[in-house]
């Protein structure tokens, strides 16, 4: 079956028109109907018509206009780059110039980037509804996301319409029966690709999207939405469970139908406790990097039965349809089940390659004969092994890339800015489990103690909040391991009280 036989834009158009009186979004206590959404999309589209450039920026505010801008950009045959106004301006300027953005759709009262042409989406004249999408080849891009890079320069991951259509088809093939009565949680900042699943899947079925605004205490507001509005589908990062865990005994969500987790390792014991809070839900662990469009493997949690896990971490399961997974050794040889190696991903969801970055592309992508056909694969940097049934067990990261609150973080990028400020002083950035079992950033400075407030302030100007060290220690000289490398394990001990 051709996975892209349906045009997702035409599907979106039809669903929006067929559900005019139903709620599409719930944002900060207010419902917006599909008709409100259709109007906002049409207005932004019209304003977008005279603008050049294939790549359009969107300021990621928590309002209807921001989501309407996504669909407006798509229907005009263009791609979006989400720009979080709370992230340091330097980093955003970097993204804007890398992506070649000439126009930004901005729902803020005052445009966030005064030096770039802004379409102020809350201030445009209303026009007639127009949801007829422009025809574009499936190879055209739909969004471009930037993730943490090693040298202080974010990496761009472009996703094509074929990638996204492939994801939606593979998702429906998993058997999810979503309808217009479903209520979806959308807890993700739009710069994080799990947001795409959390708004697109409901919008393709006429369901309602419940937003978690940025200024709320996340776990608390998520529970409030799930309980008070009886949400039926929720994709979350596992760190939310660590926060909710002390209160599991008072959580009862019988209306929840599908509870999905992605973005971090999902511990089996917490999942089992969580399953008691939602007696009627199917719990699924999904996995995938931004490069492979949202997620590409899945493992359904078994209630009252055996679950596959490794070191207490639930299996990430098998690849979804139209995707391939292989595990390789250091010489790119495919390994048999049972062997630990690097997980590589191929298939319809795989990005065409990093944005204007041939060097990174050479490192991360390679071709290999797979099922008698030459296929392109992406090296995830994740260590896995497959069991005899092909279910993947997650073991750990190969490099120093890590996940903080679900965001991908290169520790070397944090070190880069600390060293930039401290000039000749060496630093090592580590991750530690925090008090509730999540990951937090810590930094060791090779020096006699000094007041490091200026260093942190400088890093706050350069890096998003989740990359700022929460703990700092000093040491005269970094210990070395047998290979003569800084012994990071010994540095971790400094943080044990």
């Amino acid at each position: 079956m051709n996975p892209t036989e349906n045009d997702i834009y035409l599907d979106l158009k039809e669903v929006i028109l067929a559900h005019e009186n139903r709620n599409a979004f719930f944002i900060n206590g207010i419902y917006y109907t599909y008709l409100d959404f259709a109007k906002a999309i049409s207005n932004i589209r019209f304003a977008l018509k005279n603008n050049t450039g294939k790549i359009i920026g969107i300021i990621t505010n928590d309002d209807l206009e921001t989501y309407a801008a996504i669909v407006a950009i798509w229907f005009e045959g263009k791609a979006y780059v989400p720009i979080n106004p709370d992230i340091p301006s330097d980093r955003n300027q970097n993204i804007i110039s890398e992506a070649g953005i000439e126009t930004i759709i901005d729902s803020s009262e005052t445009a966030v980037f005064p030096n770039i042409k802004a379409i102020q989406s809350k201030k445009i004249e209303p026009v007639a509804i127009d949801l007829e999408p422009n025809k574009i080849p499936e190879s055209e891009l739909v969004y471009l996301l930037f993730t943490s890079g090693t040298t202080g320069k974010p990496k761009g991951v472009p996703i094509s319409k074929q990638n996204l259509s492939g994801f939606t088809k593979a998702f429906w093939d998993l058997g999810y029966k979503i309808n217009e009565d479903d209520r979806f949680l959308q807890m993700f900042e739009l710069t994080f690709d799990l947001s795409v699943m959390s708004y697109l899947i409901p919008l393709l079925k006429g369901s309602c999207v419940y937003l978690v605004p940025k200024d709320k205490i996340k776990y608390s507001y998520i529970f409030e939405l799930m309980e008070d509005y009886e949400l039926t589908v929720a994709l979350m990062v596992p760190s939310i469970l660590h926060y909710l865990r002390p209160y599991f005994d008072e959580i009862d969500l019988p209306k929840m139908r599908y509870s999905l987790f992605c973005g971090e390792a999902l511990p089996l014991d917490v999942t089992t406790e969580w399953s008691n809070c939602l007696p009627n839900a199917q719990i699924t662990n999904v996995y995938g990097p931004t490069e492979d469009t949202i997620f590409c493997t899945f493992y359904d949690y078994v209630r009252n039965g055996q679950n596959k896990s490794y070191n207490g971490i639930l299996s990430i399961g098998k690849s979804m349809n139209y995707n391939s997974t292989i595990i390789i050794d250091e010489e790119n040889n495919v390994l048999e089940p049972g062997n630990v190696g690097q997980l590589c991903l191929g298939g319809i969801q795989l990005t065409p390659g990093y944005w204007k970055n041939p060097e990174k592309n050479k490192e991360a992508f390679f071709n290999i004969l797979y099922n008698n056909k030459e296929e392109r694969f992406y090296k995830t940097g994740d260590l896995c092994k497959a069991d005899e049934n092909g279910d993947l067990l997650y073991i750990g990261r190969i490099d120093f890339q890590t996940k903080i609150q679900g965001f991908r973080v290169e520790l070397s990028e944090i070190e880069f800015y600390a060293k930039e400020f401290l000039s000749k002083i060496n630093v090592v950035v580590l991750t530690l489990p925090d008090d509730v079992g999540n990951t937090e950033v810590a930094m060791v400075i090779e020096s006699k103690p000094f007041d490091y407030k200026d260093t942190i302030d400088y890093m706050k100007e350069k890096l998003p909040y989740y990359m700022i060290p929460k703990k700092v220690k000093f040491i005269d000289t970094f210990p070395l391991n047998v290979n003569g490398k800084t012994d990071r394990k010994k540095l971790e001990i400094l943080f044990i009280d």
Binding site: D215, I217, Y219, S220, F223, Y247, E250, I251, D435, Y465
Partner: protein, 82 residues
């Protein structure tokens, strides 16, 4: 314990968890007004308050918190149940 005393005790906890006192400690204080008061520190602050006052909150109680005044209401309510 009166409201001012509860406020003062919570203030000490905030200083130690957030690592600074660059905020105005009054009943109108919200998480947004204090640097570093995010989901994680919120959780730690709540746990510290629970142990300092010897009370246990429900998640439902915590959802409705808008500002320091609400938090004091919650604590004094729990204290009077004891």
């Amino acid at each position: 314990m009166n409201r001012a005393e509860i406020l003062e005790k919570i203030g000490t906890i905030l200083n130690s968890v957030l690592g600074h006192s660059n905020f105005e400690l009054n009943e109108e204080l919200t998480a947004k007004d204090a640097d570093g008061w995010d989901s994680l520190t919120h959780m730690i602050i709540i746990t510290e308050i629970e142990s300092a006052f010897g009370v246990k909150f429900k998640l439902k109680d915590l959802n409705k918190l808008q500002n320091m005044g609400n938090l004091i209401d919650l604590v004094s309510g729990k204290l009077s149940e004891k």
